[in-house]
Amino acid sequence: MSDYEVVIGLEVHCQLATATKMFTPCAYAYTLGVEPNTQIDAYTLGLPGTLPVANREAVNHAVRLALAVHCEVQPVSRWARKHYFYPDLPKGYQITQADQPYAQAGYVEIADPAAEPESLATKRIPLQRIHMEEDAGKNTHVGGGDSLVDFNRAGAPLVEIVSLPALRSAAEAADYVRELRTIVRYLGISEANMEEGTLRCDANVSLRRPGQAELGTRCEIKNLNSFKFLEAAINAEIRRQTDLLERGEAVVQSTMSYDPSADQTRVMRTKEAAADYRYFPEPDMPPLLLDEAWIAATAAELPELAWDRRRRLVGLGLSAYDAGVLTAERELSEYFDAVLALADADQAKPACNWITGELLKLLNQSGRSIAACPVAPASLAELLALVDGDTISGRAAKEVLDKAFHEGLSPAAIVERDGYRQVSDHAAIAAMVREVVANNPKQLEQLRAGKDKVRGFFVGQVMRASNGQANPQIVNAVLDQLLAEPEPEPEPKD
């Protein structure tokens, strides 16, 4: 098996979450199981005499994305028509942007695959461009040679993000799409769900000898609709091209489809059969003019994005892993920030532990998202303070959080109501410890013999006896004291 360098470029289509479609005030919302052809209007159907008018909200969304991935947003861009005949394309052409897209260059950061896992080092995947366009409808072949067309999706706003061929493995490609998904979700401009088709991906794959400057012949795999298939399809295509090259055959520029059951890519059509889309400037709309001041103001209003947050969180003392978990979703990251804003400065790590541990567990168990979390950030900050100030023990805190989650009360109120206040009275705790030790001579013997595991047993017993209120640090201190005392003389035997 010879070595080839894998070269991958991705075209990612992302449906923008707007109230109406790209070029018509027709309401549209992706909903599973919505009745076909109920989200349509005269323009959507391509009725004669209708005209496109660009949707301001969609343009805003698209510009925010371009700024978030460091593109050069163009003050002047143009719409173009791309022609082909298919029943799901009502006008016989799609309005898109061709030679003058609204955004050029830019990059997406992904974790550097060559770096140490905890390093937070990133690799920049350069973009060629982003352009806006309208989606097509959906054809369903129902058998008997019949097809049904649903125009609900027709005209929905899309952005197409085109990377340069800078990805070097299927895993990197998937990582890149995940980062893009995180960005658009942070921006709140798309559901970006691959299974629902609001995020779609085509992959261009080619191979070349290491050190070779020019690119090999590429093949484009269409319609990759899950992360799993994205990776599997690219790997299958790498295998196919490697086999061809190993046999001394040429790769023919083709459009491929991926068959998951066979785990193989197959040729749909070759370049010779490729359509001529007859692009030309859309005469129904003037060029899209974006005001420079408005672009600058939009840039200034962008939220802090995932990589910046990760770097900031690591600066607060969190691990790269924890920073990754906390920033997977913007809502979670903002929850963390809100807690931290109300807590003491040294509480970053405990806040992270409580959120990524107990709180996420409770959310998962109840099937809720962080946005619907019944424990407000202020309540979690209150809990942190109660633990940090030794008012309650960590063990009690778990119970308090559970109750706060299910009952909606503040942690302080629960502590008072249910008597979780930690007892730190040394004498009272010493009495309890002595009683527990006296009642469990066998375990004491084991502890003295060096079986340190038994220590947990004693602490647990004391906590139970104190209804969880004994300060475990003091319990441990008393225990140490007892062990340090000379062993009582064994009673003389006859």
């Binding site: 005499g49 005209l51 008018v53 005949f85 016989g92 097809s147 129904d284």
Partner: protein
């Protein structure tokens, strides 16, 4: 109260005033025009469909509103016809094509809506060359329209049905569309005022597209004042059309008054003498053009020589661009969602049979040309180059308007011709656009006004000849002022064809 004859003799403006004042009821006016339709249609074939019941109901509503003391719109009670290119909710709209026959739009176009809101009564839809492609009204799967001045002659095109109906007084005013001269050329051939506004002045929403960057709607009327009245109803920004202009709409009727009463003192009329060397320019058209210039000078204007250096390239440029856009705009007629469908075994065959049967020869010719022009390997040589020449042509006009206020030329190089005379010669047909397409390429306002008749000789009857005026961007008021001054000094607009009770 007026007799039908009196009502039909009123200009649209005078009729609107009479309805406002109560001298004529909208129902009377509508009945008079419906009777005239009945009398003329057997010969003319100007209407694709008539809507007598609906029109009378609209008219009755206008009369009721007047009796109730409600404010009436500027076209209240004026019976009008719309070229069948305009989308009318609930009324079949075919755009002159078999591929759309039977299509009843579920929405109202902006032009039809504005007319209705102004109180106009819609008499029916008017015949046209298929998708606006033609200069004679013969490119149609339906019957060819006749010229009211000489029924063996073409009325011009593509707004030929509108021109014929307005000239024959079977509507008080009509709406046409103009991609390369389709308002002005039939106006010229039918002794009418035809106004193509600045690109974007009137919304294109609801006007079925032929070539989107060139198409513009406008009125065909018997008098200049009617064109001003209609334009003031039609003009203005429309949020449904991204190319519609937001510039405020001036008082067009005031411009007409100015021209008619004060004349043209200080106004410079530009003439490109090179264009007048055109081979194929009919001597009588040239003579009427010179007469027209003399009238403008008599009204106080001065003449200025100007040059339009790229004039000779306009026809080629136009036919590259308009066919490219047409091939794209007509891609939607695929038999899937509306209109004609020829169901076949496969999708591809269904497309082919539908478009084969649904489109006429001229439309197919232009789709083929346009598809070729937009091919990846011919785009730069054809579309790309034509766009550059278009820019040069627009610059020619801009330079010319530094030396004059309006440009004057003939509208059509020839008067009307016999039906069938040019059917086998599309190139000759294309050349009849030579004076009109420049304004479309440059997006400028232009109008044709009655400038006299050719001399009857032998088998040739006397046929109307038009004078074209082109203005700078948004210069409609200037055009109307010049046209009104010309009208005040001439009587051509008072001529009537035999069909409309006239002497010719």
């Amino acid at each position: 109260m007026g007799t039908s004859e009196e009502i039909l003799s009123l200009s649209a403006r005078a009729l609107a005033a009479a309805v406002h004042a109560g001298g004529v009821s909208a129902v009377e006016a509508t009945r008079a025009y419906l009777e005239q339709i009945t009398a003329t249609e057997p010969i003319l074939r100007a209407y694709r469909c008539t809507l007598p019941d609906r029109a009378l109901a609209q008219a009755a509503a206008v009369d009721a509103a007047r009796q109730a003391g409600e404010a009436l719109g500027p076209l209240a009670g004026v019976p009008i016809g719309l070229k069948d290119i305009f989308v009318t909710e609930g009324v079949e709209t075919t755009c002159g094509s078999a591929i759309l026959s039977g299509w009843t739009p579920p929405y109202q176009g902006t032009q039809a809506r504005r007319c209705a809101e102004a109180g106009a009564v819609l008499l029916g839809k008017l015949a046209m060359d298929e998708f606006g492609m033609g200069s004679s009204n013969e490119n149609t799967p339906f019957e060819a329209v006749r010229n009211p001045w000489a029924p063996a002659y073409v009325p011009g095109g593509s707004s030929g049905g509108t021109a014929a109906a307005v000239a024959a007084r079977s509507c008080a005013l009509g709406l046409g569309s103009d991609t390369g001269g389709s308002i002005r050329q039939p106006a010229s051939l039918c002794n009418l005022v035809g106004l193509k506004p600045t690109y974007g002045r009137v919304s294109r929403h609801g006007m079925i597209a032929f070539a989107s960057s060139l198409d513009q709607a406008g009125p065909l009327t018997r008098e200049v004042g009617d064109a001003a009245l209609a334009l003031s109803v039609l003009a203005g920004h429309d949020p449904h059309d991204a190319t519609s202009l937001t510039a405020p709409v001036p008082d067009y009727l005031a411009a007409v008054e100015l021209g008619a009463r004060v004349g043209l003192g200080g106004l410079r009329v530009g003439v490109d003498r090179h264009a007048m060397q055109l081979e194929g320019l009919d001597p009588q058209v040239r003579a009427r053009f010179e007469d027209g210039l003399a009238i403008l000078v008599g009204a106080g204007a001065t003449l200025a020589e100007v040059e339009l250096p790229h004039f000779d390239h306009a026809v080629a440029t136009y036919y590259v661009l308009c066919t490219a856009e047409a091939s794209s705009n007509l891609a939607r007629y695929d038999g899937i969602r509306y209109g004609l469908r020829r169901e076949r075994a496969s999708l591809r065959e269904t497309y082919e049979a539908t478009r084969h049967d649904g489109f006429g020869a001229e439309v197919k010719r232009r789709i083929l040309l346009g598809t070729f022009v937009l091919r990846a390997d011919s785009y730069a040589d054809y579309y790309g180059r034509a766009m550059k020449v278009r820019t040069l042509i627009a610059r020619d006009y801009a330079a010319a308007f530094e030396r004059c206020d309006v440009l004057a030329s003939p509208t059509s190089p020839v008067p009307g011709w016999r039906l069938g005379a040019k059917l086998d010669d599309p190139l000759a047909m294309y050349l009849s656009d030579v004076f009109t397409i420049g304004a479309n390429l440059a997006g400028l306002p232009a109008m044709s006004i009655p400038a006299g008749f050719s001399d009857a000789s032998g088998e040739h009857p006397a046929l109307p000849i038009g004078l074209q005026l082109i203005g700078p961007r948004l210069g409609e008021a200037t055009l109307l002022r010049v046209a009104a001054a010309h009208e005040a000094a001439t009587a051509w607009h008072r001529e009537r064809p035999l069909l409309a009770g006239g002497a010719r």
